[in-house]
């Protein structure tokens, strides 16, 4: 699963099983914490990635437990942050279809894509040239406020 960026700091491939999402969350939370994200931001990052992986397992792979999902992470500087790319080999869908329900129309489901958008600073879904879908998300650390003097 190559991209145009330099080698990721960390790349994980998991089988498409719900019980593997907690280990991935734990890893990314720890990574974000060590980079300097505060606890709330670490939690938000983990939740956004969890929602994306849940969607791939359910919608992309139709709950087939033997498919692959690739998660790559890069530390960003200027602004300091994390870029995470999630790749799958599921049937491609139109990016315009990847959207949740109206938030005021309360019913089970339809929240994941909303959460991803509200928790991350950059969200980009695309069809992978080689088949499958790709999601790139980025989250930045709040800039340190420096006095203009």
């Amino acid at each position: 699963m190559k991209s145009d960026l330099p080698a990721p700091h960390l790349e994980t491939c998991i089988l498409s099983r719900p019980e593997l999402l907690a280990p991935v969350r734990a890893m990314l939370e720890e990574l974000a914490g060590r980079i300097g994200f505060d606890e709330t931001a670490c939690g938000h990052l983990a939740l956004a990635i969890d929602e994306a992986l849940t969607n791939i397992i359910r919608h992309g792979y139709n709950n087939n437990p033997d498919q692959n999902i690739w998660i790559s992470a890069w530390e960003l500087s200027d602004p300091t942050g994390l870029r995470i790319q999630i790749d799958d080999l599921a049937p491609q869908v139109e990016v315009s279809q990847l959207k949740g329900r109206d938030l005021d129309d309360i019913r089970p489901g339809g929240l994941g894509v909303h959460l991803i958008h509200s928790l991350m600073d950059l969200v980009q879904f695309s069809k992978r040239p080689g088949g499958g879908m790709r999601l790139i998300v980025e989250k930045y650390q709040p800039a340190k406020i420096t006095s203009p003097l």
């Binding site: 719900p18 907690a22 709330t40 939690g43 939740l47 309360i106 089970p108 994941g112 909303h114 928790l119």
Partner: protein, 115 residues
């Protein structure tokens, strides 16, 4: 991976219903178990069902969907559904999803028994 999908839920009998207290993250792996415990409790058509999230450090949209399903059942059957003891993290997921506007969310156990 048995433990990964299991969910321990304490059940307490109240004067007018039940209190359920799940232990641990409620995510895609564990929300089916969460749904099963809620469904079981709702079968008895109690007057009140309290879901105490004190021991849930993490909940994702699968957990929320399960609570919304429970809300739909309880509304139809005039059961009071009350959620309490949200950690800051879980509360922020509720708020982002606008669930605090439809679900009765209170701070603690005592308030849940009076709500």
């Amino acid at each position: 991976m048995s433990r990964a999908t299991e969910l321990i839920v304490d059940i307490e009998t109240l004067t007018d219903g039940f209190l359920l207290r799940p232990h641990g993250d409620v995510d895609m792996a564990r929300s089916p178990a969460f749904r099963a415990k809620l469904t079981e409790a709702l079968k008895n058509v109690p007057a009140r069902l309290v879901v105490d999230l004190a021991l849930v450090p993490y909940m994702d949209s699968c957990g929320l969907a399960t609570l919304i399903e429970a809300l739909q059942i309880t509304r139809a059957q005039k059961i009071k559904l009350i959620v309490c003891n949200l950690s800051a993290r879980v509360r922020s997921v509720f708020e982002l999803s606008r669930l605090t506007t439809v679900l009765t969310v209170v701070d603690n156990h005592e308030q849940a028994l009076l709500a």
